[in-house]
Homo-oligomer: 171 residues x 2
DNA sequence: GGTATTTGGTTTCATTTGAAACTATTATTC
DNA sequence: GAATAATAGTTTCAAATGAAACCAAATACC
């Protein structure tokens, strides 16, 4: 089965990582995440988790941390830490829900709103730049593909992976 | 449980994170990475970095760590650590290039080849499952989109982010 | 009422990660 | 042919991450 043990780097017929969709998605996403993360980080001192929290609070407020979790697709630990950072930076205000004192009521502060409104156009511009070379049809397909693939991936995932899952570790 | 968009939570016109392409890509990729990572991890005790190294070594061998970096789009630290794990597991053999004694010559061991050949069909099956609901046209567009967007993202990235960059820290 | 269970959120701990520093070898320059 | 720069790869250190433990408040159950 191996008559040709050559000295040089022989490309074997087998498996082509560079065509493997999960790999390619990962590479693409990592490049984008680093680029955008640096964008937010350099000019605003925010990481991606913080930016996501600000994004949803800028649109829906007030929210409980829990709602932020579902809307940002981040787990509660990340949300908790991001909120804490934003609070210390004076960008987010935290209050306790009067009806259910476990729940928090999070909203952007005035400074938070100003920063939010400054970041959003930047993000949208960067997104536009990214999508620049795509035809209108390709954009539509991209949109559809993202929805389809995400739904599909969530269906495939062994359910324990679902971040909105029932906190299986908690006693 | 009804979605808590009742009284106070007013959706404002502003920015819709849930439509933002970088965000959606990140969510999709995270789900897939965790699913695949768990797949490899549970049955073979490998993480994604290790699996990637095995994948390229299964196809091109021998490679220097450097070549693995470029082919897997991982930085040298990750590659170094993944190779070390694989060596300890007896899946990868490490030799020194005679012509340039800094360079390594990495290849799969016999056991590594067996594991590689066992994993590949599993990965391909999972990929097929993921792409299951897509039409042939959508698949073609996906393929094109991944290439286009990756090229675009690399072009946009401030160059310092390029993982194949000139090791700016190393003085 | 009182106890058990669930839920919202934080903290702890071990692992992963990457930037920068470091070692060893080769290439360059004078 | 030293001195210097560049390259391959490893190690160190600090930050990010997530699973599980944890605390506090609210519900369910009796």
């Amino acid at each position: 089965m191996k008559p040709n043990t050559s000295r040089k780097t022989r490309p074997r017929p087998g498996f082509a990582l560079e065509r493997f969709v999960p790999y390619r998605l990962s590479v693409l996403t990592n490049i984008i995440s680093r680029t955008f993360g640096r964008l937010y980080g350099e000019r605003f001192g925010l990481g991606i988790p913080e930016w996501r929290v600000m994004a949803v609070l800028g649109r829906f407020a007030p929210l409980a941390a829990n709602d932020v979790c579902s809307r940002t697709a981040m787990d509660k630990v990340r949300v908790s830490r991001a909120v804490e950072k934003l609070r210390r930076a004076g960008l987010v205000e935290h209050a306790v829900d009067a009806r259910d004192r476990r729940r928090s009521r999070l909203r952007l502060s005035a400074a938070g709103h100003r920063m939010h409104d400054a970041i959003v156009p930047m993000g949208l511009a960067a997104e536009a730049l990214l999508l620049d070379g795509l035809t209108a049809a390709e954009r539509r397909t991209l949109d559809k593909l993202l929805d389809k693939l995400t739904a599909r991936a969530m269906a495939i995932a062994p359910a324990a992976l679902d971040p909105s899952g029932p906190d299986p570790g908690d006693t």
